[in-house]
């Protein structure tokens, strides 16, 4: 159940009009392989209601549905990321930013780092 | 019969080699209808091998030292939750140690049964409680044994709050806001054990039998390791608690039998089980350390069928630290919550590997001492400690709380404080009445070497923590 051959940073920046987050997402720690080699991308994330706020849970769902190319179970667990994947929002640990409830702002940079690989 | 016991592993290997599919591995004539770790048994052989394991435990375990001369008279208390394991235990104990067993083989005197009423934890408290109580009474009556029932919150009873419910609820809240659901579960386990021992003491029983299965033992081994209780692990999950508790010895006669064997035994003997555990089975993701550990062991046991037995057997091979064995020594420091010996130096250990403050050590020490009088009440247990409104609070007492706790109970009491930043850091911890008593006693004995120093160390840590 390792990240197999995966594990760097996926990040995203939220931009565009205020009501849709455009996040720049980076993947690292070997996780690139889950994303078909993708390391940095810009994503426009829509909340559940058009014009509604976008939270981290929506970003994760978006990443899973649109960016991930294989083994979603190695990235997500329920609606959050698998234990062992670190999430940074603008270079700050998401654990102090409210985790899933964090409201994504335009231009936010979100980084996913896997810790689950050899060292 | 006697040779059914012994080295399970080697025995099983032998059986495996001679196995014929579908035929009982023991009598090798009957059709197998019960499988234990891939070995098939017919019904009589299954009952025989299982009771053999349990009987060996009951008859070979040395009696506690000072009651050896009262062999055949020593009183035994059996903890009966109403669930499958303790149901099997009750049946076996009744059959193999009861009055009809010949005088020479008898080791125990009167055996009585105790049930801890945990209905306060249930959502539909009254509904489940009365049927369960009724069914338990019926089962115990059918063996002609005496049943006592003690309610979980009674550990908190005071003159204002006779059944202890208010105290219990307050205490639970203080645990769940300071820590988490896991801490709360841990507290409930500690209170239960305390109540069981309390009843044993009241009845003059020196042995407490519990129905821990190999599966449960394996879960608990991992759980207690996870909670930092490696030091007291042999007391908690060994075949007996040996000298862990000052008064009562806990025996775990079923710890070599898997949970699956219990169900099989119940089916074969057509036993009535008061507590239907199936309905409690929760399909959702576990959210507590216990739930997580349980699903891990159960899940692993499916792929690697030896896991639970291996862990349980390994736990039986652990040694208690020599200094913890001096339990006859009254000066040994005991945790006020779990009543087991406290490992020396564990706070210092924690401080070394988890630094909590930035200023230099010397600065801290000075500051810590200087402010200690003023800030005495600001630690985890505030001045309003204890759920007992009938006692004036004692600030000095509460500041010594952490030293009175073992590592595991301290972790549970303060675990994950930082999780919810908005919760005040110093939500007062409330204590079961017995723990408050023990604490008062310890504080009275303040002459214990190093106590002052330990209080200072704690104040220091608290200072840094703010």
């Amino acid at each position: 159940m390792h990240f197999g051959a995966c594990g760097r940073t996926l990040g995203g920046r939220v931009s565009e009009d205020r009501k849709q987050g455009v996040a720049k997402a980076r993947v690292c720690g070997g996780m690139e392989l889950l994303f078909d080699g993708l390391t940095l991308t810009k994503a426009t994330v829509q909340g559940p209601q058009a014009g509604g706020q976008v939270e981290m849970r929506h970003v994760i769902a978006h990443v899973k549905d649109h960016l991930l190319t294989e083994r979603p179970d190695l990235f997500v667990s329920g609606e959050t990321v698998r234990p062992g994947i670190l999430v940074l929002i603008n270079d700050s640990d998401w654990e102090i930013e409210g985790q899933l409830d964090y409201e994504v702002q335009n231009g936010d940079v979100i980084v996913f780092i896997s810790t689950l690989h050899g060292g | 019969m006697s040779n059914t016991e012994g080295n399970l592993g080697a025995g099983e290997d032998r059986l495996r080699r001679r196995r014929e599919p579908g035929i009982c591995v023991k009598c090798r004539t009957e059709k197998a209808c019960a499988y234990v770790r891939e070995a098939g048994y017919c019904q009589p052989c299954f009952i025989h091998q299982m009771t053999g394991k349990v009987r060996t435990h009951l008859t070979r375990t040395p009696l506690p030292g000072d009651i050896r001369e009262v062999r055949g008279k020593c009183r035994v208390l059996l903890a009966f939750s109403g669930g499958p394991s303790s149901r099997v235990l009750l049946d076996m104990v009744a059959h193999y140690t009861g009055e009809h067993v010949n005088q020479q083989a008898r080791r125990f005197g009167e055996i009585s049964v105790v049930h801890v009423d945990e209905s306060i934890l249930e959502e539909d408290e009254n509904a489940s409680c009365s049927t369960l109580r009724h069914d338990i009474q019926n089962v115990v009556d059918s063996y002609g044994m005496r049943l006592s029932v003690v309610a979980l919150p009674s550990a908190f009873s005071t003159t204002d709050d006779p059944d202890g419910r208010r105290g219990f609820e307050k205490c639970r809240q203080s645990y769940s806001s300071n820590g988490s659901k896991s801490s709360e579960e841990d507290l409930v386990r500690q209170i239960k054990m305390h109540l069981l021992r309390q009843v044993a003491l009241e009845q003059g029983a020196t042995i407490l039998l519990t129905g821990d299965s190999a599966t449960r033992t394996a879960i608990h081994t991992l759980l207690e390791i996870t909670q930092g209780r490696g030091y007291t692990l042999p007391f908690l999950v060994g075949p007996t608690s040996t000298t862990g508790y000052p008064d009562v010895v806990v025996w775990r006669p079923l710890r070599d039998c898997l949970a699956k064997e219990m169900d099989q035994y119940i089916a074969f003997q057509e036993l009535q089980v008061p507590k239907n555990t199936e309905k409690k089975e929760d399909k959702s993701e576990p959210t507590t350390l216990y739930g997580m550990t349980q699903s891990f062991i159960v899940g692993l046991d499916e792929g690697f069928p030896a896991t639970a037995s291996t862990v349980a057997r390994t736990a039986a091979k652990l040694r208690v630290a020599p200094e913890a064995l001096e339990s006859s020594d009254e000066r040994i420091s005991r945790c006020v919550i779990c009543d087991l010996p406290v490992q020396g130096g564990s706070q210092g250990w924690r401080d070394r590997c988890a630094i909590l403050g930035r200023s230099t050590k010397a600065d801290d020490r000075e500051k810590g001492c200087g402010d200690s009088s003023k800030d005495a009440g600001c630690c985890g247990g505030s001045g309003d400690s204890g759920c007992n409104g009938d006692r004036p609070s004692n600030q000095g007492t509460s500041s010594s709380l952490p030293m009175a706790l073992c590592y595991g109970c301290r972790v549970a009491a303060s675990a994950d404080k930082g999780k919810k930043e908005d919760v005040e850091r110093d939500t007062p911890l409330l204590w079961p009445r017995y723990a408050q008593h023990a604490l008062d006693q310890q504080t009275k004995d303040a002459k214990v070497e190093g106590l002052r120093e330990q209080i200072q160390d704690f104040l220091l840590e608290d200072e840094e923590d703010q």
Binding site: - | T226, R352, Y407
Partner: protein
């Protein structure tokens, strides 16, 4: 949300939450506290003596890269007086080790430390790729043999470098996982010492091994590497996924997500676990050929080597 202030300096904005203590800390305090904890670990266990020559086992991965960085930093800051060097093993796994060794070579430049690379093909006449071609890709076997080979390779590299002490990047998560694994496997021989910070002279080896990161959380190592922008390589070995160990790791991470202090609490427990004297320990012999711990006259690695050399695929 109110501004989150660092629990250590009480000034700067916090950027992360420490799993071990639950405190939130700013970037500067995080660097300080992590380095200080490692320093305390080194000092309180008396890991080194002045003038000692110490090799850092470097794989190019996160743990060993942070270890190299930190050993160099602490050695200078606290005047340990150590002569540090990097020691790498080239197992000969293309697409994995060749790339990670490039990282190690860059680290050598960045930290200005001597580097020694010992390769399986040089030591044993076989690279892992060749071995796998010969014996097939049975994950467990591959990893077991590779592990034994690596241990010996590090020892031999240490001798070539003339050092008696190797530090490895094993972190708190690794140590906690080992405690759980030994309990799950019922490995009484290893259980008692699974949490030792140093192992010396084991299996006739003259080289001492230590884990300065024994109490350092994996999360913090990764964060440290990220914030410091350290150059590390993070692809899993092509032959790696050992299912059973993976289960224990997942379990540990799940526990950590419920109670972050669990990892350090498991280590605390592990340090107290002792096997009773009357328990029969599996008798361990020493391999006739290489001197490594073995359950028979020859250790598994030597048996495999013999098989390989005879051209008898196992």
């Amino acid at each position: 949300m109110p501004p989150r202030i660092c629990a250590l300096c009480k000034e700067a904005r916090a950027v992360m939450k420490r799993p071990k203590t639950g405190q939130i800390v700013c970037r500067a305090c995080f660097f300080w506290v992590l380095e200080e904890e490692v320093h305390q670990t080194i000092v309180s266990h008396g890991l080194f003596h002045p003038g000692e020559r110490v090799a850092i086992a470097a794989s190019g991965g996160k743990d060993s890269t942070v270890l190299a960085h930190m050993m160099k930093t602490l050695n200078e800051r606290h005047n340990y007086g150590l002569e540090l060097s990097l020691l790498s093993v080239d197992e000969g796994i293309s697409g994995y080790r060749d790339d990670s060794l490039e990282t190690v070579k860059r680290n050598q430049q960045q930290y200005d430390l001597p580097l020694k690379i010992v390769s399986y093909s040089e030591l044993y006449g076989w690279s892992m790729d060749e071995i796998v071609k010969e014996v097939g890709r049975k994950n467990n076997c591959t990893c077991t043999f590779c592990g034994v080979f690596r241990r010996q390779a590090l020892d031999r590299g240490a001798v070539m470098l003339d050092v008696q002490h190797i530090v490895t990047g094993h972190n708190a998560d690794d140590v906690a996982e080992t405690v759980l694994m030994n309990v799950l496997r019922g490995d009484v021989a290893r259980l008692g010492r699974s949490t030792d910070i140093s192992t010396a002279n084991e299996g006739d080896s003259m080289v001492k091994r230590s884990k300065p990161f024994k109490y350092t959380y994996e999360k913090e190592i990764v964060m440290y590497a990220y914030f410091k922008k350290l150059d590390y390589f993070s692809t899993e070995c092509t032959y790696s996924p050992a299912a059973y160990r993976g289960h224990a790791r997942t379990f540990l991470k799940d526990l950590e997500s419920i109670r972050p202090s669990a990892i350090i609490d498991i280590i605390h427990s592990g340090e107290a676990l002792t096997i009773r004297e009357d328990v029969k320990m599996p008798t361990l012999q020493v391999c006739d050929r290489c001197g490594y711990m073995s359950s028979g006259p020859l250790c598994k690695a030597c048996v495999l080597l013999e098989g390989l050399n005879r051209g008898l695929p196992k």
